[in-house]
Symmetry: C2
Subunit: 378 residues, 2 copies
Amino acid sequence: MSVGCKMFGFVINRKCSATGARLGVLSTPHGVFETPMFMPVGTQATVKTLIPEELYEIGTGIILANSYHLYLRPGTEIIHMAGGLHRFMNYRRGILTDSGGYQVFSLAPLRRITDDGVYFNSHIDGSRHFLNPEKVISIQEDLGADIIMCFDECSPYPCKYEEAREAVSRTTKWAERCLQAHRREDQALFGIVQGNVYEDLRIESAASLVSLGFDGYAIGGLSVGEPKEDMYRIIEVMNTVLPEDKPRYLMGVGAPEDLVEGVKRGVDMFDCVLPTRLARHGTAYTSRGKLVIRNAEYRDDFRPLDEECGCYVCHNYTRAYLRHLFKAEEILALRLLTYHNIYFLIKLMENIRSAIQEDRLLVFCERFLTRYSEPSGN
Amino acid sequence: MSVGCKMFGFVINRKCSATGARLGVLSTPHGVFETPMFMPVGTQATVKTLIPEELYEIGTGIILANSYHLYLRPGTEIIHMAGGLHRFMNYRRGILTDSGGYQVFSLAPLRRITDDGVYFNSHIDGSRHFLNPEKVISIQEDLGADIIMCFDECSPYPCKYEEAREAVSRTTKWAERCLQAHRREDQALFGIVQGNVYEDLRIESAASLVSLGFDGYAIGGLSVGEPKEDMYRIIEVMNTVLPEDKPRYLMGVGAPEDLVEGVKRGVDMFDCVLPTRLARHGTAYTSRGKLVIRNAEYRDDFRPLDEECGCYVCHNYTRAYLRHLFKAEEILALRLLTYHNIYFLIKLMENIRSAIQEDRLLVFCERFLTRYSEPSGN
């Protein structure tokens, strides 16, 4: 039974005087990282299009990989034989693996949930599989990430109260089994709070997990279609019930405005596929909002994507060139936009940390959001 | 009228005592490069998936871009406005632009050839275009490569003698017009020898071009489907008729065995899409022949692609990981295989140059080819 990861630590160095924001340091076997942080997603053991050296150059600390995907392909045993996920994908800094709960409920067809676990078909080849808390912990121990997650049931939006309550109840029981099953002392185990948009369920879920005792707490089941006000409201409630001295991780959230709002409500960690996915669709973040590179207006625009950005892409390439690459369906377009978008979010978190450090977070957030939402700023 | 490029030079420092191989140095406004050399292809102003810094790291000198493609997309004027191709694509070393002759004859539908030039439809949007020698030189002057090529008519294989003769005749007349039209003194202009597999036509074509006087001579219209023996035979003939003191460029040839055979027959420069195209199809060059990464045998093969290779990919990734990326349709697979394949050819040329320098080329070639053609060496 897990008694808390000895090689894992979290210290809060400063709190914002005006909001719930916290400035912290997260210690893992693969490095020490400042919070609040954004974790790029490397679903299939690669942050799409990039190499680890580029992620280091950007300033990435922890990345996220998906147990569900890696279990199905290439298979957990391959990664275990390779010496774990860090060695397999050549990433030397921190890795967090998602438990697969969210994927099983969002991707896999023909699933059947029992109190023991979930039967489902692979979305790749239709093969039949079964996952339960013990299996999910075993998979994550084989993968060997620094931070691993409990197997949870993520309810959809919208969702009736009764269903959401059942999902919370199951998530709590599964969390206890995950805690019991977890053996590796070099991995931190996080519990995942569920409860949909219902405050009392969220509070109940958090209280149960806290009484079990985890290395950190994730807020799951948000950013699944609910209005932003509901998301912000639930995060605010979490800020009042989660223990202050443990890291808080808002799962699957990563739009720039949500990072800002999450930090103000006490969130320390974020992950999201948005920066990589938007890049593949030709959209870049800029300090003046999103820029759709295929637009004809950029045909002879020889400015960088974002004139205020210091990244490799903005130093070396113009909008006209990137538009050309995108129109010509060149892979380099996706690679350069991905690099820029991840840089944008990592740099945003750096700026947020500086603002907390200097106790000027509200001013920073207001200025950032005003400029980011300016219409046609590009 | 061009009087030979003043900023361009070619010096032969050593000749092989047993073959036609030459060790030379090519000077351009964007650097000095050793020959024999392999030039990776960046058709649409990008060597697919890679950034210039990676090409420098690999040791690439000159790359090739295609006037035909860039004229159609993004359009010559955009690249001219950007300050030329070097600045547009952020490549600081040498660039050679192909004239578009080959592309017009291989890609464009509904083409109509006259003595003045070629009418054709864009393979992208069907729009109607006309290219002639003057236009092609003007396009290449706007693009601003270090080495530009004459507009030529590339006959197909197989091709009747009469047709091949007509193509030679037209290519010669067009070469003279290109020479007349060329103004920029910082660009070298190469003539292109045609003549299909007919030795007398090849000799006639070469003699005509040589009497006009170019900065270098390309051997065009090979590797278009003819037997390898025909290709080698024609290159051998060229070795006897082209001037010794000018660089010789074998267009579109780049299989490892052909690089070796070409160098032995006096070729100084090569280009080919093979290393990048093979990479995108999941095939890697290795010192023991080609390796098809999707094959099931690599599922748990934790060796590098090529145990003798010193490239970034072979230092950091296993066959098992690369196979996983390829099977999972991750772009990083294409990027890493492209990097490795280009490295393999650039390194092969480095080794060839060392072998010429130390007058042991035949021994090197025999050893290389023996090991490269070993069945199932991987």
